[in-house]
Structures are given as C-alpha cells and as structure tokens.
Symmetry: C3
Subunit: 422 residues, 3 copies
C-alpha cells in the first residue's frame, strides 16, 4: 500500500480531470442557449424533474450498497469506505466511457441522464465488489473499477444500440453482468486457504443492523432505480408501480422461504438483508412494460424464493465444488434474479409483439451481458492475480486493520496503552 | 414457527396476487389514454410531482418506524425485520381494502395517491406493533396486519366519506387509531409474568443510537406525511409549513420537559426518541388549515410537553394499574398527541366555520376512530390470544433468538465453537 | 442543569412563538391570493419544485451533521441529540433573524426559500458546535445558537445586499464563518487540563460506522445544498453538476493523501469521514458559475488534499501552539475549504468580469465573513466562559453521562443491579 495506492489514485484522478477537460461540456452552455432556447429550457425542466429520482439512486449507490456490505464484523470500514472510493472514481470514468460511446463523435454533455447512467455504471463494480469482499486490496479495486466500467459500457452500448433490447431497470446489463463478472474474478482469485471458512467471515449483532440500513434504502428507492431513465410519462409510471409491487411481494415470499429452509423455522438475517431485494432486480428488464400489477407480483414472489434457495443451497455448492467464494452471495441477489429478469423480459416481449426478431435480440442481449461479464471477469481476475497489488494474506482477509488505522486501547495495571492493532 | 409461519405467509401472498389479478389495474392503461388523453396526462404529471413526497413517506415507514423500535438491546432484528414484513404485506392489502371501499364498484386504479394511502394504512399496524413489541410472534403480526388494516379502512371510509371530516395528517385515523388499537391488543395479551419488568426490556448505548436513525428520518419527513394527499397548492403548502414549525417547537419543549422531570436535570433518550415527534402527530388533523404559523408552534409545544409527561407518569400507571404493557410507549407518541390533534381539529373547524354540523362531524370522526380502534383491538387481541400462534414465553420475550438465527462463537481452550444461541 | 436548562429552553420557545405571532405570515394568505392570483400560483409551483431539495438539505442538517459527530465513543447521544436541539431552535430564530433583515419592513413570509435559509443558518451553529464538541453544556449551546445566528444573519445580509457578492453554496457565509466562529469560541474556552488528550476523545469501531452515516448523507445531498437557492434554471443546473463533480474528485484525492500521510500507507477514518466532503465546501461560492466541469474537479481535488493535510498537521499545531482544541477538526472540513471556496470565487469573478469593483466586493465578502466570525466568536466565547452555564469539568468532557441518563446494569452474584452511571 505504501505508495502504490496513493500514486495510482492520484494518477487516475489527474487522468479524469484531463479527460473531462478534453471531452466533457455542460449540457447547457451559452452557445446552446442562444440557438435552441426552448429546447434547452425543456431539457432543464426535465433536469429538475428527474433530480429527485437521481438522488434516490445516489442514496442507493453510496448508502445502500455501502452499508449492505457492512454485515461482516471486522470489515465495516472497508465495506462502506472502499464502496465510496469505487463509486466516486467510477462515476467519473462512467461519464466518459458511456458518454463517448453514445455521443456519436460529439463532446459528452453532462446532464441528469448522464449522471444517472454514471451512477448505474458504478453499480456493476459495486456488485462485483460484493463477490470478492474481504479478499482484495484497494489497489485491486481501483483497477477493477476502470476495467469493469469499460467493458460494461461496451456491452450496454451493444444491448441498447445494436440489439435495441429493452432493459430499463438493467436486470441484464447491470445486475447479471455485475454478478457474473464478480463471480469470474472470485473464481480466478480462489483461495484454497479459506476453504474451511475464516473466523472473520461472519457477522455480529450490530453489524447485521448496520447492513439493514443498506437493505432498506435499496428497497425503498428501487422503484426510482428502475424508472429513472424510462420514457415519460406512462413508461416511467409503470416502472415505478411494477417495481414497488414486485418488491412488496418479494419480501413476503423471502420471509416465508427463509423460515422454511432454516433450522426450526427461524429467520436468517442474510436472507432478509438480500433476498428481499431480488424482486427489484428481477422485474428490472420489463418494469416499464404493461405486465399488469399481478404480473410484477408474480415475478417478485418467484425472485424472493429463488434468492433464498440460492443462499441456502447454491452458495455452499459454489464455494466447495466450483471453487468460487462469493462473500456477499451476489449470485443470489443479482445473478439469479438478473437471469429471471432477462427471461421475463424475453417472455414479455414475445407476448407483446409478434416480431420474433425482437425476441431474438432480447435473448442476444441476455447472452451478451453474461458472456462479456464472464470473459471480462476472467481477464480482470488474471490481472488482479499478479502478486504486486497488495492483496491480503489468507489470514488477514475480512479484516479492516490491514488497510485502515484501527486503534485499540487497553488498561494494563491502571496505565492506558493505545496502539494500532497488529 | 416451523410451518405455520411460512405457510401462512405464502398463502397470504398468493391471496394478494389473486386479488390484484381480479381487482387492480394501472391508473393509465390503453383504454383510458385513448378516451381522456389530456386528463390522463395531467394525472401522470401529478404522479411525478408527488413521487418525492411518496418516497419521503416510504422512508418513514420502512426506515423511520423500523429503526425507531431498535432501541431494545436484543430485539433489533425483529424490530426492523418484522416492521419490513408487516409493511410489505400491509401495503398490498391496504391497496385492495382502501381501494375497493373508495372505488364505487369500479376496479382499483393504482396511482400515487393509492400508493401513499397504502403506506399510510401500514402505519396503523406499525404503531400498534410498537405497543406489543417483544411479546408477539411473526404469525400473530401477520394476522394483526390483515385485521387491523381492514378495520382501519372501514373507519377511514366512514371519516372521509360519511362524516366528511378533515384529517389530512391522520392524527385521528392513523395515530389515535393505531395507538388505541395496539393498547387494546396489549391489554388482552397482558403478561403478569412481566409485571416486574424483564431484563431484556431495556436499551444499550448503541441500540439507542440506532433508534435515533428512525427518529430523525421520521422527524425530517413528517411534513411530507402530513401534506402528501393535501389539495394542491395552498393546502399542501400550509400542511408542510405548519408541520415543519410544529415539529421544531416540539423538540425544544420536549427537551425542556425531559430535563425537568428527570433525575438531576438530565435528558432521557426515550423522550428524545419519541416526544420530539409528537408535534407532527398533533398538528396532523389541522395541518392544511390556516391556523397561522404561531398556532402550529403552540400545538407542537403542547404536544412535546404532554408526550414527555405521558412517558414519565402515564406509562408506569398503564402497566401497573390498567394492566397494559406498552413497550414503545405508543400512547405517548401517537395516542395522546393524536387526541390533541383531533381536538385541535375540532377547535380549528369551529373557529373557521359557523356550521355546527361540521364541528359535530369532526367530533364524530374522533369518536369513531377511537371507538373502532378499541373494539377492533379487543377482538384482535382475543384472536391473537389463542395459544396456537407461537407467541414467546415470558422468559423469551424481547429476544431475537426465538425467531432469528443468532449465531454466537466462543473460544474454548483455543478451539472456536460456534452455535446458535439457545 | 437542574432548572437552568429547562427554563431557558421553555423561555426561548415562548419567545419564538411570540415573535412568530408578531412578525411571520404564510407566503400565501387569502389577501395575497385575491390580488395576485397568478404570481401566487407560480410561487407555489416553485414551492413544490424546490421541496425535494429542501428535504435533501433537511436530511443533511439533522442526519448528516448529527451522525457525523457521533464518532466519539461516549458522546453519541449528545452529538445527535444536541444537534437536533440546536437545529430545531436555530431554524425558528433563523427564520426571524434572516427574514426581518431581508423583509424591508414588511412581515416575514414563510416559503420554501425562507425554510431553506433557516436550515442554512442552523448549519453555521452546527459547524461551530463541532469545534467545541464534548466540552460544553446544552445551556451553552442554546446561548451560542441565538448569538451566532444573529451575527450570521447580519453578515449574510452584508454579503448579499451590500457587497452583492456571489456565494451560492455559502463557502464564505456558512462554512468559513461557522468554522472560524467555532475556533474563536474554542480558543476562549481553552482547557489546559485536556492538553495531553482525554481518554474519551477517541472513537471505537462502531462509533466510526455511525459517523459514516452522517458523512454519506452529507456527501450525497451536497449538490442540493449548493443549488437550493440558485437562480433557475441554468445556474441551478450548474450548481448541481459542479458540486457533484467536485465531490467525486475530492473523494479520490482524500483517499490518496490519507494513505500517503499515514503510517504504512493505511487509511484513516477521520480523513474519510471529513476530507471527502471538502470538495462540497470549496466549490460552494462559484458552484453556479460556468467554471467548466474539469474546473470543479480541480477545486475538489485540491480541497480533498488540503483537508487531509490539515487534519494531519494543522490540528495538532492548533491544539498545542495556538491553544485551540478543535474536537471535530472543523477547520479542516469547513475553515480551509471555505477559504479555498472564497478565493476560487474571487478568481472566477475576476475571470468572468472586467469590473474590478465586483472582484473587490467579493474579497470584502470573504474578509467580512471571517472577521465577523472571529470577533463574534470571541465575544460569544467570553459569554460562555462565565461559570454559571453548567459546563462539564475536564474529567467529564466527551461523556454523555453528564447530561443524559445512561443506565448500566451489572450482574453481581446472580443479582442484577441497574443504576445510572456516575
């Protein structure tokens, strides 16, 4: 860490400033105002109208994802802290990467949609971060942020511009992509030494409550996530209502299944923290379609059940048989529900339209998202495996004190001694 | 719990999906658009305009109520977790129950107002939940959710449609109703074994800080709660301003009284967590009326003082003399301030209008809200008392480990042994 | 505390109610509606349009500032609790003080801008509170709230009306003012007994996580803070975008510098909690100007670095050489970045306009803000030093149990004994 991390971070920030200087402009500058006054004004009205939805998404990214990962007993600083770092860097790079791909050779104009999309692009990295949580260094996360957002932007461009596929809540391009990318990285970074578990890979009472802060803000604002860039007015309305209902149904079935699969009918906080959100992921692709209120509730109900079953049976299977250690279980919250979302999107398009080419394009979008994610994740994993990025030893995994000043004081014969842990 | 809880939860969710399939439609569907294009568009604009207020209310329900109840040292999982379950189920049932009562035989059209009202209907159950917190099972809460929202919807219909009474912030129909319903249930479920208190019926330092997360989000967004369904523009404006001022005044008097009644002038977190919110409850009924800024500050000041006095003197009296154990003191936060709100509404209507029949109707609304709450609560209490719903024993009250997996690890001669508590 | 605090609080609240009765009216009352119907309606539309931004600021004041200060291990109740008290009283007094100064002899009309400004005026006191945190009594904070907001309102009026200076995000009038006011108070209240530190003047693991709740909500909503009262539409747009980018850049450089200056390249939570916000402060004055996206990123990058360096080198220097004990390091989060903001504003105005008198006025605004802050802080400090306000002894500094009921239970030979600490 001594110099690699600060120098890499400073270098990246300088690069971002140079790139913004070269390629990014205000959406409204004086030239635009003079020529297209009315258009500009309408676009600005839309800016303020969408700003509350942007802020909801912003809370999800920084508070939601950040606190959701604080469940580990000794890894809260890293969870919420590195989450902030990844997202702050990622939204700058996402603005450039996505902006240039969609700008058709013009400069990138920063507006409310580009800000929402920049937040979205960081979500993919934060999902992948969940898969490798506790086993990587901040330097590795800076590298993953840059690579993953580049590949995400490429796939998103393919899905939106080439396949013309629907994916308004990004079940495929963000959730499935982020999950399978992270699983591929985790597979490459497999640590046999953690095969039998690690004493710090578990929660304590209060860390589980901190995680619920994340869960609840994600749950509450998910309708904004799925509708933020939907076409006004009807599509946006439906995206909000469908997501709201899917999430409500998902909570009830996730609780039911958690109790059903656990010892003596008890509830498990891991399921409650995660599976209750699967309905938001799964309804994403078809959130703005006229799938009927009860249709979104069915999608949410199924997602809640599948997600709990994933935590109970798939995660242990992944860890032991596939040699993929998925710290936060992102496969169950983002991977499987993202797949369900992609499939639901294909069905919804097929029922709505007789044009089979649209259905095929929708399927291609799902395939492309998972394919690029896995290939991109494998390559990224290989880069991160190079033993120069300060990754923690097996013993110091899941422990903040490797990368953070964690002071500890003890009373020794009436003399108080304070010092850094380890 | 083994099968009762999961089967009941799944059965309820399936029922909800069927009911939504039969009775609920989008507010905007193709037929409506074709015939009333301009109306639909205006209604959709209103949707996005009110959406930020809806999200504020959503935060209050899920984060506000959820974390407010985490003050108990060993009951945080249940507080925030069962709060989420009740609210997710309740908003589905509330959409149906309130929707059908107000739909005049048509289908229920889901829009921003029905979503706000659905959140409101869950608030009644969450208030009652506070009265019985720590002494009931998740199964009992599922049952209470369904019964209470049904009765709430009936009373709300009576108040709004028959009595044509004002109650914009729902001091009567939500706060007084929820409190007295909960107290009636708590009275029926009285546990003589907890007469002398329970070692887990208390807070620890960090649980009190978690509770403040709930307090603050409730406090901040209360103006949205009281104004969300007010008539635009002036009534909505006044509802926001009056609530904002009432709450500010309430904080100062609650702090003053807390220090006045406590040992050596100290402040008590229970008062700060709860009584600072009483101003939002008490100004509810007349929030959108022209009661003058200083009028709302008087209401808030009185509510803050009354609420602290309630915690100090009434709660112990209720527990010992009336045999009602009110875990969160909902009588002091919702009951008394709700009464003050109902009375303030009667006075405000009387001063504004010479039509005595309006005053009488307002009084009838207050009477109906408290009456149906008590009768409904007594009946619900009797149903919940049937000893088949998995209620905890006296000894395991206020303890998450009865219904949640709570793992605990100990070091025993260098060997780490992990197991479930109890 | 016994009677001084409650009587002073009640007296202040009664005073507020009387002042509101005399001087404050609704923005929309019946007379206004009759005469200027269209204007009133437009102003009310603006009310609802800005309401989400107001709520963002509201979250910053009550959750952001409140939890940011909970980092101390035994001072969380006071941090979040006295923060609430100061803000609730302060927003009432701020409405009056600022309102009367700007009302030109008319009554104060309470609207969304006055509500935003009232929240702003409390921010100055909360910043100063950070400098003296743990070393003052609630009574002292009530006094400081009234005095500081009065002086703030005077300086703000000077800056806005006399100097006609730009300061949209209030780098000068709130951040620099609040910081130097607080430092002056802390200087007067210097405690030689705490020269060697205090065992409670430090964080524990979970208190640092609580503080991150404050950090993140401040970080997320800062664009709303800097844009809430900006002129629609373009200025407001730029204020949002510039602040968003400045904060993102600031995070990356703050992390880099934290690692660079700390032992073995580790990160320090104090820096992450505070310095990541410096970009929001520093871009404040020129947030709504056309400083280019990369320009705001440069400002944010510099602020993040300067702030970390301040924590590392200036705070110890202040404590030992200048005899100013700055508990939260407000000089590094608000003072220095506020200065940078003021200077950036001067440069931006100079580059934009050839009118040197505007540049001079801008410089005068910076000088006035710092000058009145220091003089006001010194006077306030002398008043607070009078030994009748219940300030804590050196030994009981940074300890909630002086002003709060903090119960503690111990098991003693199978008998549980509960009692108040100390």
């Amino acid at each position: 860490m001594r110099f690699k991390f600060p120098l890499m971070a400073l270098g990246l920030e300088i690069t971002m400033i140079v790139l913004f200087g070269l390629f990014v402009e205000y959406e409204v500058d004086e030239n635009i105002i003079q020529h297209h006054n009315s258009t500009s004004s309408a676009s600005m009205d839309r800016f303020l109208e969408l700003y509350p939805l942007f802020q909801d998404v912003h809370v999800m990214i920084f508070v939601g994802f950040g606190f959701l990962m604080t469940f580990l007993k000794k890894y809260g600083f890293s969870s919420v802290g590195i989450n902030l770092l990844i997202a702050a860097l990622g939204l700058q790079w996402g603005t450039i990467a996505q902006g240039l791909l969609h700008s058709h050779g013009e400069k990138v104009h920063i507006g409310i949609k580009s800000m929402i999309n920049a937040d979205f692009s960081t979500a993919t990295v934060l999902i992948s971060f969940g898969a490798v949580l506790g086993k990587t260094s901040p330097v590795q996360m800076l590298i993953m942020t840059i690579i993953e957002i580049t590949i995400f932007a490429g796939n998103e461009w393919l899905v939106a511009e080439k396949f013309q596929a629907s994916d308004i809540g990004a079940s495929m391009t963000i959730h499935a992509f982020g999950a399978y990318f992270g699983l591929a990285v985790a597979g490459i970074l497999y640590r046999p030494g953690l095969r039998m578990g690690h004493e710090n890979d578990e929660s304590v009472y209060h860390s589980d409550l901190f995680a619920m802060i994340g869960t609840l803000f994600l749950w509450i604002f998910w309708p904004s996530f799925n509708s933020a860039i939907a076409a006004p007015v009807d599509n946006q309305y439906r995206a909000i209502v469908n997501t709201y209902l899917s999430l409500a149904a998902c909570v009830v079935t996730a609780y039911a299944l958690s109790s059903l699969v656990e010892h003596r009918g008890k509830l498990d906080m891991v399921h409650i923290q995660n599976a209750t959100l699967a309905g938001g992921v799964a309804v994403g692709t078809c959130a703005d379609m006229a799938i009927k209120p009860y249709g979104s509730m069915i999608i949410g109900s199924v997602a809640g059940m599948v997600s709990v079953l994933g935590f109970k049976f798939l995660t242990p299977f992944f860890a032991t048989k596939l040699r993929i250690q998925d710290t936060c279980g992102v496969h169950n919250l983002h991977g499987l529900p993202g797949l369900i979302g992609g499939l639901a999107g294909i069905v919804a398009i097929a029922m709505e339209s007789s044009d089979m080419s649209k259905v095929a394009m929708q399927a291609a979008a799902l395939g492309s998202s998972i394919g690029t994610a896995i290939v991109g994740g494998l390559i990224t994993g290989l880069i991160l495996k190079i033993p120069i990025w300060g990754q923690p030893s097996d013993q110091t995994c899941y422990d903040d004190s490797v990368y953070w000043e964690v002071w500890h004081c003890v009373l020794n014969k009436d003399i108080r001694i304070c010092g850094e842990i380890r």
